[in-house]
Amino acid sequence: MARFRKKFNLFDIFNYVFLFLMGIITLYPFLYVLTISLVPQGVYLKGGLFLYPTEISLEAYKVVFNDRFVYSALMSSVIITVAGTALNLILTSMAAYVLSKNDLKGNKIIMRLFIFTMYFSGGMIPSYLLMNQLHLIDTYWAVILSGTVSTYYILVMRTFFANLPASMEEAALIDGASDITVLVKIILPLSKPVLAALGLFFAVGHWNSYFTPMIYLNSRNKWTLQIVLREILFETTSSIKGDMDGVASEGIKVVAPLRMATVIVSIIPIALVYPLLQKHFVKGVLIGAVKA
């Protein structure tokens, strides 16, 4: 930046150090959790660990990976995330595309219908009662269909579509393409960046959601990863079967390394996807921020 002089003064030292501390504060808790997950229970109880595992044991991870319950929870989360994100993208882009056509009659009124949902909503109970009426309680659909269409994201996509050059569309229409063909063959390929960015937001949202799956999924075998994780963390016993002390038991007493191993396993998908998120997310944030 042209505004910087080349000299590096005391403030800069403080700044770099301060920001470094911010980074450490952010990362250290993860490191600590990882450490605990890798030690044997006995070593943990002795205490004194805080930076690295003094003795490594994969016992906790073995229990986690051998557990059927964790796998079914993982499956649930994957199903909901994939289906939910797909529906999110499809419906959002449908709305955004048509609503970006300012000359379409009725668009203004329909846009107002969408925007009103940002100001006011029915609330928790009426939504639950609706799902009940639709006989969707205790099905994945209740979770997948909650929040599929969010007007805020429609607006983001709509801005994007509106900024695409109109010439390609017009050329196609002259050549006799129908509106659907235009959408599928021209607009969508051009929209890959915004679809990728929003797709990632949606996916992360589904993966991390706790409340919505919790209220709609009653059967334990449908519980998502977050629900199971919460149970493991905050209850003293859980449905995890396996043994940590060489003794098989039905519902073992959940101990810290086991808890932390489950936490780490839950973080791994997010961590893997994070580089992608970084790339698209910052772009998405900039689009949103510029709007504001």
């Binding site: 930046m1 042209a2 505004r3 590096f8 800069d12 700044n15 770099y16 920001l19 980074g23 504060i25 952010t26 808790p29 600590y32 959790v33 419906l91 449908m94 709305a95 048509v98 056509k101 379409l104 009659k105 219908l113 925007i115 949902t117 100001y119 006011f120 909503s121 029915g122 609330g123 109970i125 009426p126 939504s127 639950y128 009662l129 609706l130 269409v149 017009e170 229409l173 509106d179 659907i180 991390n208 959601s209 706790y210 209220i215 977050q226 994780l229 919460r230 963390l233 905050f234 810290a256 808890r259 932390m260 973080i267 997010i270 998120l277 910052v282 944030v285 921020a289 510029v290 504001a292």
Partner: protein, 334 residues
């Protein structure tokens, strides 16, 4: 060369299709106008078809529940149909305002939101300003990457992390306390710590992401303003104070107003994960209480009344804040 779209535009601006059409009683002209509308719809049928799906979605999943809030005026008993329930007017609302627990939840919500506004609002701004002063773009990007990460992690996971530090039996903080000769403290079940835990874990999770947003605003400041200031001999602090801050003031104010309008939202997932009976006096928020009364106790009418109260106040707040922002910005947010 005439583009098809120009021709289409010509068609749509014909008097017959615009809202200023003069309706004539002569059947011939009236029929032409009606069939022009139908022709238009048929011509654009795919667009309307495409729009119909998301439209149907919001009609079902947003507007029907909106109508459903009517049960807060009824004595709705699960199993009955809405139309059979008796009308009891504002009785539910009277009840909730006389309920100690509801008032407590309302109070907790306002206090927690206020703490968040006071403590967590400045942090991302300061971080963004500091990041802006970093020469080395790799260091800048690196720090950003690190501090943004917790935003993507779920509250359940963060709850687990909090547990590993603050657990009464073997949390790291208690290990340290014990080694220093103090007694263990059960942080998570102590009322006096609960709100602070909520607020500070919230800061830890979100300050990185928020600072990136402010950084975008800071980066969009015109560089030539700085160059002019440097020529006039301004040092970096003066540049920050007289250029950066005023330029991003608008952004800050807008975000603050929006945050203020969300004051009734104290965080649902976060509170639900950490809430326990020992701290419910200080920690029960509107959302968690609505959940408790509605879905755990099954008192649908009552909890819908609470929800309607929250939505109505929220609606009023966001309309008001939108008006404020309009005045500042010259245009509306949406």
């Amino acid at each position: 060369m005439y583009l098809k779209s120009d021709i289409l535009k010509g068609v749509t601006s014909m008097p017959a299709l615009t809202s200023e059409k003069k309706l004539s009683t002569a059947n011939g002209i009236y029929k032409t106008q009606k069939s022009n509308i139908l022709k238009y719809i048929w011509k654009k049928r795919f667009l309307y078809l495409i729009l119909s799906f998301p439209l149907l979605y919001i009609l079902i999943f947003y507007y029907i529940p909106m109508y459903g809030t009517i049960i807060s005026f009824l004595n709705y008993i699960p199993g009955q149909s809405i139309f059979e329930s008796e009308w009891i007017g504002f009785k539910n609302f009277e009840m909730i305002f006389q309920s100690r627990l509801f008032i407590g939840a309302l109070r907790n919500t306002l206090i927690i939101s206020s703490y968040r506004l006071i403590f967590s609002f400045p942090v991302p701004i300061i971080t963004a300003l500091l990041l802006n002063e970093v020469f080395n773009k790799y260091y800048k990007k690196g720090i950003q990457t690190v501090i943004v990460f917790p935003h993507f992690v779920s509250w359940v996971i963060i709850g687990g992390i909090i547990l590993s530090f603050l657990s009464a039996s073997d949390g790291l903080v208690n290990q340290i306390l014990v080694s220093l000769g103090h007694e263990k403290i059960s942080f998570l079940t102590e009322p006096k710590y609960f709100r602070l835990i909520l607020v500070f874990s919230g800061i830890w999770k979100e300050f990185g992401m928020s600072s990136v947003i402010y950084l975008a605003a800071v980066s969009s400041v015109d560089v030539s303003l700085y160059e002019a200031a440097i020529i006039d001999g301004a040092n970096r602090w003066q540049q920050t104070r007289y250029i950066t801050l005023p330029e991003i003031k608008e952004t800050i104010v807008i975000i603050f107003i929006l945050a203020l309008s969300g004051i009734l939202n104290a965080g649902l997932d976060q509170v639900l994960v950490l809430l326990n009976p020992m701290v419910s006096d200080v920690g029960e928020t509107l959302d968690t209480y609505v959940y408790k009364v509605g879905l755990t106790s099954g008192k649908f009418s009552l909890s819908t009344a609470m929800g309607l109260f929250k939505s109505a106040v929220g609606f009023f707040l966001i309309i008001t804040s939108n008006a404020f922002i309009k005045r500042i910005n010259g245009k509306s947010l949406f």
